[in-house]
């Protein structure tokens, strides 16, 4: 530890880091909490329990969780195909997984809307069988699935690649059939990574705005997400309402960060370090 201090610039670089971090991130976030403390507990409670706020929070959290579950299942299927099998276009599909990360959310929003609108490429056949996606809660769900795709794949991928093949061979040679080996040996060692991916996809979908608002329909109490309600309250100059909803969402994302950190520590104790 002493040896490391032989390099210069520790005080300066740490000082600059803390200053810049405070200016850009910490002070603005503190402003949000300060503003909340200006509200009386009654006011705060009334804002949060108003029908429109409750419904918006329910829609955001509920659909985000449903979408994260789909991402968990499909992410597992995708990561298994990418890591374990060789097929034409594998590397291309591996790269494609990152597109929801890279594509600006507004672009994803207009593209998904156009795709799932009643006259869209997918919307038209779906409408023919009586399924309406765009401008309904289903649309919100579809957009949230889209933006959550990379999380499970990218958290599980390195763990699955590093998994010791001897464990599987041992299981097989001890007489376990393939299904038992996968479900009793491989999947349990992937659980921390799977849950991390689930939590990250959920966190992203809860706060998502750009890719959702175009396809959502934005009907109060039906298809209005919480981030949109914050924007609406701001445009009505109802700062207190906007702040109260924002604080609830921010605390929720802090909790998710905490859970993810715990999961990662758990993962480190389970899988031997490489």
């Amino acid at each position: 530890m002493k040896r490391r201090r032989t390099l210069p610039g520790f005080g300066l670089s740490l000082g600059l880091t803390l200053t810049w971090l405070s200016i850009i991130v910490l002070i603005p976030l503190a402003a949000l909490f300060l503003k909340t403390f200006e509200l009386s507990p009654d006011q705060f409670w009334n804002i949060l329990t108003s029908r429109r706020t409750l419904n918006a929070l329910k829609i955001s959290f509920g659909l985000a969780f449903a979408a994260a579950l789909v991402n968990l299942v499909m992410g597992t299927v995708i990561v298994w195909a990418l890591v374990r099998y060789r097929f034409p276009g594998r590397r291309l599909f591996d790269a494609i997984v990152d597109i929801p990360f890279a594509l600006p959310t507004a672009v994803a929003g207009v593209a998904l809307t156009s795709l799932f609108a009643e006259k869209g490429w997918l919307g038209a056949p779906l409408a023919a069988v009586g399924i309406k996606v765009a401008f309904t809660p289903v649309g919100i769900f579809v957009a949230m699935v889209f933006i959550g795709i990379p999380f499970v794949v990218r958290t599980v991928q390195p763990v699955l690649i590093d998994l010791d093949p001897e464990i599987e061979e041992a299981a097989a040679s001890l007489g376990a059939n393939r299904w038992h080996t996968v479900s009793k040996v491989i999947l349990p060692s992937l659980i921390p990574a799977l849950l991390t991916g689930l939590a990250l996809a959920f966190a992203r979908a809860v706060g998502e705005y750009g890719s959702v608002i175009f396809i959502a329909g934005n009907l109060p109490n039906v298809s209005e997400i919480a981030p949109l309600l914050i924007v609406i309250r701001l445009s009505e100059f109802r700062y207190a309402d906007a702040t109260a909803i924002a604080v609830v969402m921010l605390v929720a994302s802090f909790l998710i960060i905490f859970v993810v950190n715990r999961l990662q520590r758990w993962a480190q104790t389970r899988v031997p370090a490489h």
């Binding site: 507004a106 889209f146 059939n177």
Partner: protein, 303 residues
């Protein structure tokens, strides 16, 4: 059906072990029956094609739906040009701010041991987990007319909100972690030996950084800048809250996509969107190439 399959495999196992095993490739026990393999591959590629490839194709199809000339006319519209200019300017500001910060933060975190380091890294990561709308809202609470510093700014005629400084600040918040996150693991992996050697040979701190550290991390820096830039140019939620949507003045490209779309000017909207989609694709390709270089950077230099 799975039960049947399970049983038949179970019964086959001892026999397979005694007779077939010596000749079977070790991979056979680590793979699934052929129909399962094909099913999983088909499901994965179909899902990615429908949910990821198709939306991307729609962007370009819609942008070119009225022909190439309509596409280029939409892009050379004065409003589009001003949005492109503003987007480039905002990205340049926030990327350079976060580049300097990211390198300094990575130096402090990767090259020294101190208590509270994990907490500091968590705080740097924080903007990743904040909803974009909230990232914009916090600046409204600081600089808005009802905000903490709003009245003072107003009396001094300084415009932060609904102007360039606000957009640049919100973008810097959202893109804050990218460069630091790209550099911290890389610099930790590389350790401090080379820098210590340089110092002991009489190099100054800055000489050590520019001659020893920077050449070692150049691809990592580029990687961070690349991702930071992509997010800065594409940010929608945070910028939407602080921009005020003044036409021709405070609209970035993603905001113009929204406005034109809501006005049913689909060709124009998707034309701008196609530029952003191309940015995303180029970023991904460059990212894949850089990842290869970074893998080489991480290798110890002394062997």
């Amino acid at each position: 059906m799975t039960m049947e399959l399970q049983q038949s495999l179970e019964y086959a196992a001892p026999e397979a072990r005694s007779h077939v095993r010596p000749f079977a490739a070790p991979d056979d026990v680590r793979s699934e029956p052929k129909f399962v393999r094909i099913g999983i591959i088909a499901l994965a590629t179909a899902f990615l094609s429908v949910f990821v490839v198709l939306p991307l194709v729609v962007v370009f199809a819609q942008a070119l739906s009225k022909g190439v000339s309509a596409y280029f006319a939409a892009l050379s519209d004065p409003e589009a040009l001003s949005a492109i200019r503003l987007t480039l300017l905002v990205a340049a500001i926030s990327v350079s701010l976060n580049l300097v910060f990211g390198v300094i933060a990575a130096w402090a975190i990767a090259k020294f041991e101190f208590s509270g380091k994990t907490a500091l890294v968590t705080l740097i990561d924080l903007p990743f987990s904040v909803s974009p709308v909230i990232s914009g809202l916090v600046f409204v609470l600081l600089f808005g007319a009802q905000g903490y510093w709003g009245p003072w700014l107003q009396s001094h005629n300084i415009h932060v909100l609904f102007a360039l400084p606000g957009i640049a600040l919100a973008t810097s918040f959202v893109t804050f972690p990218f460069v630091a996150r790209a550099l911290i693991p890389l610099m930790q992996e590389q350790g401090t030996q080379e820098e210590e050697a340089a110092i002991s040979l009489g190099a100054s701190g800055l000489q050590t950084f520019f001659r020893v550290t920077l050449p070692n991390i150049k691809w990592g820096v580029l990687y961070g800048v690349l991702l930071c830039n992509a997010r800065a140019m594409g940010e929608f939620g945070a910028v939407s809250v602080v921009s005020g949507h003044v036409r021709g003045e405070t609209n970035t490209m993603p905001l113009l996509v929204e406005i034109l779309y809501n006005e049913y000017q689909f060709v124009s909207s998707f034309a701008i969107a196609s530029l952003l989609a191309m940015l995303a694709l180029i970023t991904l390709i460059a990212k894949t190439m850089l990842e290869r270089h970074i893998d080489e950077e991480e290798l110890p230099h002394d062997d």
